[in-house]
């Protein structure tokens, strides 16, 4: 996946990124009773990072990411599991949900919050993280870069093997001989 080289996009990408993420968080929050939720919000956030990568280049995107995406995904699963485990403390079944309704709060007025929101946040991180990671690996390895940066290689690859592009070239050489 080659990056897009356009002045307009470069100038506007920051604004677009911000707008997409505001909508995605809105989607996350309204998901309790309306279409939306962690999955859709996470996908939108993931897409916003992909857009950033397309415009600014994939290696630069990786430098700008606040957290390693896979780590964020693992954190999301952990959050979802913990939100499911909390009811166990009160002797309820796994994944039991509770809802709270507050009225007369300052600024917000009326607020309806349930523990499923915590689960949804977990899904949000999971989906966002996984989407970004998948697309980064696919985009990097098809645009001539190694699939992993040197910093993250020891987390994903054995010390015995090179990147798939390198081994492929060695193979090609071996066949040529």
């Amino acid at each position: 996946m080659k990056s897009v080289n356009s002045f307009m996009l470069r100038a506007l990408i920051g604004l677009v990124f911000l707008l997409v993420n505001i909508i995605s968080i809105y989607m996350l929050l309204r998901g309790h009773n309306l279409p939306g939720g962690g999955f859709i919000g996470g996908l939108m956030t993931g897409m916003s990072f992909i857009l950033l990568g397309l415009v600014r280049g994939w290696s630069e995107l990786q430098r700008e990411l606040p957290l390693p995406p896979l780590r964020m995904a693992a954190f999301g699963v952990l959050l979802a599991i913990l939100s499911g485990l909390a009811p166990l403390l009160w002797g309820q079944a796994f994944l039991t949900q509770f809802n709270f309704h507050w009225t007369g709060l300052p600024l917000l007025g009326e607020l309806h919050v349930g523990t499923p929101l915590l689960f949804d946040c977990g899904v949000f991180f999971l989906v966002g993280g996984i989407t970004v990671k998948l697309v980064i690996v696919l985009a990097r390895s098809t645009s001539g870069l190694p699939a992993f940066t040197p910093g993250e290689t020891p987390y994903y690859a054995s010390t015995l093997e090179g990147g798939i592009e390198e081994t492929a070239n060695e193979e090609g050489d071996a066949h040529a001989n």
């Binding site: 954190f75 952990l78 599991i81 079944a93 796994f94 949900q97 690859a157 054995s158 010390t159």
Partner: protein
């Protein structure tokens, strides 16, 4: 009953801790994962003791406290408890074996987390009482198995993963369609509900259609005759520790689900389907054992034996008497232990000879008499020589077959046993008895000793099953009775789901 969620959550949390806290391979991480695997085994034993104290009455957890057919239930009955114990035991042994097999600095960083995810998927498959949740559990298991299959494969072997992936994705799509069909037909995906409604429908053609569709799906997973092509070529690309895990558990998950579907969920009157299954089982045994005879490396021979042994289990299911089901459960217990330990012994042999191709092996009996003794015991047990564990399983299956007058099938099973013995002798002669190859045999190093000890532990368990066949068979009997007792299962589930669900 919240303890039922832990066999699924513990491996998941371990995998997460591996990626969040210990991202890099190291000794600390190895100890942590081994401790977690041991804890899972203890938990499974605890759950099994509780189940069998209650005479096999299923324990039920209704996740999220949802009522009616919306919620997901986890159900633990006798068979599920036995399988949980076996799965966690094999995972513990295989994890320890993989430590001996690979030094820390060459370990693939994603290997341990993925193994834990695989265990999570397998445990959820055993526990679930919901058809769609079963699909999800299968997918967790399969996705982890795809990743592990290709994780350490080299450039020549990687293409063998493609048929595995293709066949299993096809199976998943079929499973999804079958689940959809079941929902349209029964209006629910809860297994206990399906059992009630299927019993009302009786012999309707549509019920048979769903059963056949599900059998095709689980037949792919288990490796029954026309659907086993993907297995014998893809398993040999795994390292021995993972191979032991895959061969011990993944196909047996298919057998477990077939047992669950035919015994607990669908009515016991599908005679035509049992007849079809019995002939397929006979063909599976014979054709796969011929395949094993044609292979010339240990992993290849053992992979074909997995398929061949699946034939015996499916044959026992197809006879479909309470005794035959108990025999099948006994056979599954025996087979999981023996097959995994043979893989571990083969893996130790690989380290002595630096190859597992029979042409380049030799001299193992002189180099390590203990290993030779272990192999001989397990190979004879696989072939079914008394008084080892394989004999009792086969004896029970043959006895029920002869009782039902299925002489041809029993004959085929006997023939397959003899051929199994011959192919095992092939390994024995080439790897153990023959003089050492040119490169000589490695000296036993500490890792090799550790591997031999682990194989020895497995062999002791297997000998225990052989000599203590009576209590093990009694357990299988209790498990089979509670498996066949549909009304007990339904009562246990409905009493948890609330009144409106029971109808």
């Amino acid at each position: 009953m919240n303890s039922l969620i832990w066999p699924f959550l513990l491996p998941i949390l371990t995998a997460l801790a591996c990626s969040l806290a210990f991202g890099l391979p190291g000794v600390g991480r190895r100890v942590f994962v081994a401790l977690s695997a041991a804890a899972q085994f203890v938990l499974a034993l605890f759950l099994a003791v509780r189940t069998f104290q209650g005479e096999g009455v299923p324990l039920v957890l209704n996740i999220g406290g949802w009522s009616a057919s919306l919620g997901i239930v986890l159900v633990l009955d006798g068979l599920a408890a036995i399988m949980l114990c076996l799965a966690t035991f094999i995972s513990l042994i295989c994890i320890l074996f993989s430590y001996a097999e690979t030094p820390v600095r060459f370990e693939q960083p994603l290997r341990l987390p993925l193994m834990q995810l695989l265990v999570a998927g397998i445990n959820l498959t055993f526990l679930t009482g919901d058809l769609f949740n079963l699909f999800v559990a299968f997918e967790i298991m399969l996705v982890a198995s795809y990743a592990l299959l290709t994780l350490e494969a080299n450039d020549q072997d990687i293409k063998e993963a493609f048929p595995y992936l293709a066949v299993n994705i096809f199976g998943s799509a079929l499973f999804l369609s079958a689940a959809g069909l079941a929902y349209a037909l029964f209006g629910t995906l809860n297994m206990a509900h399906i059992a009630v409604r299927a019993a009302e429908m009786g012999d309707a053609f549509s019920v048979k259609l769903v059963v056949v569709l599900l059998l095709v799906v689980f037949g792919i997973k288990a490796g029954i005759f026309p659907l086993y092509y993907w297995l014998p070529n893809s398993y040999p690309i795994l390292s021995f520790s993972l191979g032991a895990f895959y061969s011990g558990l993944l196909t047996k998950v298919g057998v477990y689900v077939i047992l669950r579907m035919l015994c607990t969920v669908f009515p016991h009157t599908l005679d035509g389907i049992y007849g079809m299954l019995s002939w397929l089982a006979g063909l599976t045994m014979l054709l796969a054992v011929l395949g094993a005879l044609s292979r010339d490396f240990i992993r290849g021979i053992l992979s074909f034996h997995i398929v061949s042994q699946i034939g015996y289990m499916v044959l026992a299911i197809a006879f479909f008497t309470p005794l035959a089901i108990a025999a099948c459960i006994f056979y599954v217990i025996h087979h999981i232990i023996v097959k995994s330990s043979l893989y571990l012994i083969g893996g130790t042999g690989l380290f002595y000879n630096r190859s597992d191709s029979l042409a380049r092996m030799g001299g193992l009996a002189a180099a390590s008499p203990w290993l030779a003794a272990l192999f001989l015991l397990q190979a004879l047990s696989l072939a079914g020589i008394p008084p080892l564990s394989g004999f009792w399983g086969k004896y029970l299956i043959f006895a029920t077959g002869l009782e039902g007058g299925r002489y041809w099938l029993v004959g085929a099973a006997v023939l397959a046993s003899i051929l199994t013995l011959i192919s095992m002798l092939k390994i024995w002669l080439a790897a153990f008895w023959q003089p050492a190859p040119e490169g000589g045999v490695s000296k036993p190093t500490p890792p090799i000793r550790a591997m031999t000890v682990l194989a020895g532990v497995m062999t002791c368990v297997s000998l225990g099953i052989g000599f203590g066949a009576e209590p093990v068979f009694r357990l299988s009997r209790v498990a089979a009775e509670s498996l066949m007792n549909q009304s007990q299962y339904q009562e246990a589930v409905f009493s948890r789901l609330g009144k409106e669900a029971g109808q």
